[in-house]
């Protein structure tokens, strides 16, 4: 083909410019290590890189939440461990004091210790995290949740709100425990019903003597048929009164009457009559049916016997209301103070401590289940963290495969282009030297 002189210049120039542009592109790739400097060169790969980036960013966000979650859970776990230790101490103290031989100074010391324990418990329950938020206040993290009143009662100003965090795609875990579920809503007694001794059990009449006061204690009892127990105690609001009488020479008897009352109200009417009765042997279990002659649904163990004055001991069995750990501590204080110096003091204390021990064991159960829950949540958080870390690495590797250049390949291309450019330049110079005018 005939070639015009301008065309020779033009095509050589275009060739060199193209090679230069390729070289520039390759050298940019070499200096950044990124194959996608211009997203237009490979839109699909660029989209993949963007998607991977946002996935990595999301995982980063989950990891961040995960760390917060682990911090929160660990703080709660260690706090609850201290609470557990405290409960153990109180349990030991209660067992020590449940003894007829303790002196009144022992009792006083124990009482002082318990006051300290109560304050320590309030302090633990009011634990704050690094940001000054109360970790057991539910959603009311800015308010001191547990307020110790003058009468040793503790008021809960928080709520049942629980903090959840998303630590993985679609994986939400609770990272806090509301204070009321840990410290307040502990089932009392055996979890189904509580035993309350009448104060008169341990009080001799004006003319009575200390030796005349009996030693009867009751409870905490077991549930034989929980469905019936629920029906009776909760749904119907039924209560049972156990009366153990010392009839002198004609022996000892017990009788149980049932009645209904409005839940939460102190008064109740034992109008439904006697459901069971019989002769009483100290230490025996009294099995109680819901109606006379029916199958027993609960059973309460007894201990001791009434004295001569008073000659009867009365106990009320009622549905177990949730009882706070503070109240249990306080109950122990009351039990230690109970009837100090009065004739039935030991018995009264024994009944009180028996109830407290039952409640403490309920508290331990609640605490342990909370702790095991925290433990499993921690474990979950940790394994999700490991998973997310490896997933992040995997995404980063994939991203690298797509976006990073292969150095050998690019260097080879670079050298090829350099050679081609040099050749084009040399060819240009030589072709330009070729002219017929040189020879005429």
């Amino acid at each position: 083909m005939r070639v015009s002189t301008t065309e020779i210049f033009q095509s050589s120039l275009t060739g060199m410019l193209n090679q230069q542009s390729t070289l520039n592109n390759l050298s940019q790739q070499l200096s950044t290590g990124n194959a996608l400097i211009n997203p237009a060169s490979n839109p699909v790969a660029n989209a993949q890189v963007l998607n991977l980036s946002s996935k990595i960013a999301n995982l980063g966000s989950y990891q961040q939440s995960n760390q917060f979650a682990q911090q929160d859970l660990q703080l709660s776990s260690s706090t609850l461990q201290s609470v557990g230790t405290l409960i153990n101490q109180v349990q030991q103290l209660a067992v020590q004091m449940n003894n007829a031989t303790v002196s009144s100074s022992d009792l006083q010391n124990a009482e002082t210790t318990m006051q300290g324990n109560l304050q320590q418990l309030v302090q633990l329950a009011n634990t704050q995290d690094a940001n000054g938020s109360y970790i057991y206040g539910g959603s009311q993290s800015g308010v001191t949740p547990f307020q110790l009143q003058g009468n040793n009662q503790v008021q809960y100003l928080g709520d049942s709100g629980q903090k959840n965090l998303e630590i993985g795609p679609g994986l939400t875990t609770a990272v806090s425990q509301a204070g009321d579920s840990v410290f307040m809503n502990i089932p009392a007694g055996n979890g189904s019903f509580t035993v309350t001794a009448a104060n008169t059990n341990y009080q001799a009449s004006a003319s009575g003597v200390a030796s005349g006061v009996g030693t009867t204690t009751l409870g905490p009892g077991t549930v034989i048929n929980s469905a019936v127990a629920n029906d009776q105690f909760v749904a119907n609001g039924a209560q049972y009164q156990v009366t153990i009488s010392n009839n002198g020479t004609s022996g000892m008897t017990y009788s149980v009457t049932s009645g209904t009352g409005t839940a939460g109200s102190a008064g109740w009417s034992a109008s439904s009559g006697t459901v069971t009765s019989g002769s009483y042997t100290p230490g025996q279990d009294i099995a109680i049916p819901s109606t006379a002659g029916g199958t027993p649904f609960i059973s309460v163990p007894t201990n001791g016997q009434p004295g001569t004055d008073p000659s009867t001991a009365t106990f009320t069995l009622a549905a177990a209301q949730p009882q706070s750990l503070f109240q249990t501590f306080n109950d122990l204080v009351s039990a230690l103070q109970a009837g100090d110096g009065s004739p039935g003091a030991n018995t009264q204390r024994a009944q009180g401590i028996s109830n407290v021990l039952a409640n403490l064991s309920q508290a331990q159960t609640t605490l342990l289940s909370t702790q095991s829950q925290i433990g499993s949540q921690l474990q979950q958080a940790q394994s999700v963290q490991t998973l997310n870390t490896s997933l992040t690495q995997q995404f980063q590797t994939t991203q690298g495969t797509i976006a990073d250049i292969s150095y050998p390949q690019v260097i080879t291309q670079f050298q090829q282009s350099t050679t081609a450019l040099q050749a084009a330049q040399k060819a240009f110079a030589q072709v330009q030297g070729l002219s017929l005018f040189n020879y005429i």
Binding site: R2, V3, S4, T6, E7, Q10, T14, N38, P39, A40, S41, P43, N46, A47, L50, N51, S53, S54, A57, N58, S61, Q64, S65, D72, N131, S133, Y134, G138, S139, Q140, S141, G142, Y156, G158, D159, S160, G161, K163, N164, L165, E166, S176, D180, M184, N185, N230, F233, V234, A235, G237, T262, A263, G264, A319, Q321, L434, S435, L436, F437, I440
Partner: protein, 671 residues
């Protein structure tokens, strides 16, 4: 003629022909670098011979014509290729600008960072530094959107300027072509000679014109050419050039359209190829969709977060207010609209998740009916008569995510609706107080009743009140609590009769404790899925806070408290965090980051395509030029050879004259 004078005269014609040929060769050499110049050749023929004595004696040579080496087919290919290559190159370089803006702005990084801040608030809802950092991230996010939106808009302004420049150049070129047409026509009739240089100049002007806009040429019998746009609209007819002008679009006054200068007839949609075609294609197919896509993302993020914000409580215990604001729905009326009185029209985004990147034409078709058409595809999206109240017609295009309120419009009026165009450039973070972040759930469910400020739980049964969540519409059979004097008001749920197993227990919901201010009551079947309670939000945002009361054992008097979420509640912040990975964009099909990636990928693909196509067209153009040059270009070696050829011819002719001269001299001396 014969004899000695014949020798001289014949040689003289050769001498002249060689001289002329040398001049042409010189002209070729001189024009070796003139764009559009076609190599010229002399066409020599022998002169008419003389018949003497029964013999024909040649009379030398003559120059029949000066021809340019030209192929109209190859020149036509150059023109077509020029128009395509120039159009694609413009498109490609403009797209690179948009791509540069979008990929350097890194919307996705900002979105991820913002949500990482939200996650921190979710982790420490009462921590003010975390809240402050979330707001700073929000400001960065909105500033990024704003800056990207404005950069895209300024590219649009630049496009208007470039269109203007291109039109000016087109006018100048068509004017020159018309002039040359005139000159060519006036040379008609000068024998069979052709004004080669004028033709070359005109061809070169047409090449230049093609680089501005794709045109077609039609030769006329008088040597003039008419120039048309690719769809047949005339730019040059003989000696008359029809000037173009830029004028504000009929709808958007900020957009330049192309029209005839004489009558203002809009020909924007008829222009293809060349710089102008590339610019117009870029604006309608790449820039506007990119602006809309960015706006759609901004609107989507703002819509979803503002909605979530309104469902929760801030640190002051009141409902959250909007975090972001975005640019308004942009509506332009046609300049020709004449309504009854003044036309007032405005738009509002009703569902950011349903928005698309489309622009719409809204037309009053008469009889109170309105038709919404997708501007890009031309498809009818919706036909509605709307609802009229107080003279204002409200047209709700829920499936497109926006509504329009209009008054004073009559049949035939049409409007351009751009729901998302300003979304990004107008995006702002309007929440400035970190306490204003609504991290808390409106209600926290607690077991027990509020007694003198404290939570007291004396419940005997095992009923629980679920933590609850937001629902847009209440469940059937749910107990609805509505008409609260303020939201959220603390509520108490109290069981009114005990029960176990499968029994149904009643409950009442009151605003005060102890059965005062009863708002609603219901029954829950024990052991089942429980009873749903829907507490109505005020509107906006509307919807309900839904909790569930369930369990298998209940005692009369068991109570539950629904109290406003406190500083430590992170329910709503958690829901905000979840938005990062929820499919809330484009009718719940993609995430924010997915949408951002889609936007960039769309632009990157277009840019990639344009780049490839520009390269391909450039190669086509190069080949066309090479082919055309192989015919019309000047080759200096060839000219050098010609120089020698004609020089020798000249020398030989001169020698012949010299021989004639010698003959004469010999003859005269012999006398």
């Amino acid at each position: 003629m014969s004899g000695i004078s014949g020798i001289v005269n014949t040689a003289l014609t050769g001498l002249q022909a060689a001289q002329d040929a040398l001049q042409i060769t010189g002209n070729n050499i001189a024009n070796v670098n003139t764009p559009g110049y076609s190599q010229e050749n002399v066409v020599q023929s022998n002169a008419i011979p003389t018949f003497i004595g029964g013999q024909y004696y040649g009379n030398g040579t003559q120059i029949a014509s000066v021809q340019r080496s030209y192929s109209s087919f190859l020149q036509g290919q150059v023109w077509t290729a020029t128009a395509s290559a120039s159009g694609q190159a413009t498109l490609s370089s403009s797209l690179q600008q948009v791509l540069g803006v979008l990929s350097s702005g890194s919307v996705s990084t900002q979105v991820s960072q913002f949500f990482s801040g939200v996650a921190q608030v979710a982790a420490s809802p009462s921590d003010l530094p975390a809240r402050q950092s979330m707001l700073s991230n929000a400001q960065n996010l909105s500033a990024t959107f704003q800056s990207l939106g404005q950069q895209l808009a300024s590219i649009g302004t630049g496009i208007n300027q470039q269109i203007g420049q291109s039109v000016t150049q087109i006018n100048s070129l068509t004017q020159q072509i018309a002039q040359i047409n005139g000159q060519i026509a006036s040379t008609q009739g000068n024998g069979n000679s052709v004004p080669n240089d004028l033709l070359d100049q005109r061809d070169q002007l047409v090449t230049q014109l093609n680089s501005q806009v794709g045109v077609q040429m039609l030769k006329q019998s008088n040597g003039q050419t008419n120039i048309y746009l690719s769809n047949g609209q005339v730019l040059v007819a003989g000696t008359q050039a029809f000037a173009l002008q830029t004028q504000p679009s009929a709808y958007d006054q900020q957009t330049s359209d192309v029209a005839y200068a004489s009558n203002g007839a809009d020909i924007t949609n008829n222009i293809t190829g060349g710089t102008l075609g590339g610019l117009l294609q870029f604006r309608s197919q790449s820039l506007n969709p990119a602006e809309n896509g960015l706006g759609q993302l901004a609107d989507g993020i703002a819509g979803a977060l503002n909605a979530q914000q309104s469902q929760g409580l801030n640190l002051n215990g009141t409902s959250g207010t909007a975090i972001f604001s975005t640019g308004a729905v942009q509506i332009f009326g046609n300049q020709a609209n004449v309504g009854s009185g003044s036309i007032a029209i405005s738009g509002r985004i009703t569902n950011a998740g349903a928005l698309t990147a489309s622009d719409y034409m809204l037309t009053n078709t008469g009889g109170g009916n309105w038709t919404l058409t997708d501007r890009g595809s031309g498809q009818v999206v919706s036909t509605t008569s709307g609802t009229i109240s107080g003279g204002v017609t409200t047209l709700n295009f829920g499936s497109s995510g926006f509504s329009v309120s209009v008054s004073g419009a009559v049949s035939g009026n049409s409007f351009l609706v751009e729901p998302t165009r300003l979304g990004a450039s107008g995006m702002q973070t309007i929440l400035t107080n970190p306490s204003g972040i609504a991290a808390a759930s409106p209600y926290v469910s607690s077991t027990g009743a509020m007694t003198s400020g404290g939570l007291v739980n004396t419940n005997l049964g095992n009923m629980t009140l679920s933590a609850g969540g937001y629902v847009a519409s209440g469940s059937s059979g749910g107990v609805v609590v509505s008409g609260l004097s303020s939201f959220p008001t603390a509520l108490q749920v109290t069981i009114t009769n005990g029960g176990s197993g499968g029994a149904a227990v009643g409950y009442q919901i009151s605003s005060g404790s102890g059965g005062t201010g009863i708002l609603a009551s219901g029954t829950a079947v024990l052991g089942g899925s429980g009873s749903t309670i829907d507490i109505a939000y005020p509107s906006p945002p509307g919807g309900y806070w839904q909790v569930n009361l369930s369990g298998s054992l209940a005692a009369s008097g068991d109570a539950f408290t629904l109290s406003p979420g406190g500083a430590g509640s992170n329910g709503n912040a958690q829901a905000m965090t979840a938005l990062a990975t929820s499919h809330v964009m484009a009718n719940n099909t993609t995430t924010f980051n997915g949408s951002a990636a889609q936007l960039i990928t769309q632009v990157a693909s277009q840019a990639g395509q344009a780049q490839n196509s520009a390269q391909a067209q450039a190669t086509v153009l190069q080949q066309a030029q090479a082919s055309q040059q192989s015919v019309s270009g000047v080759n200096l070696d060839q000219e050098a050879a010609n120089l020698i050829l004609y020089q020798q011819a000249y020398q030989a002719a001169a020698k012949a004259i010299s021989v004639g001269n010698t003959l004469f001299t010999s003859l005269i001396q012999a006398l």
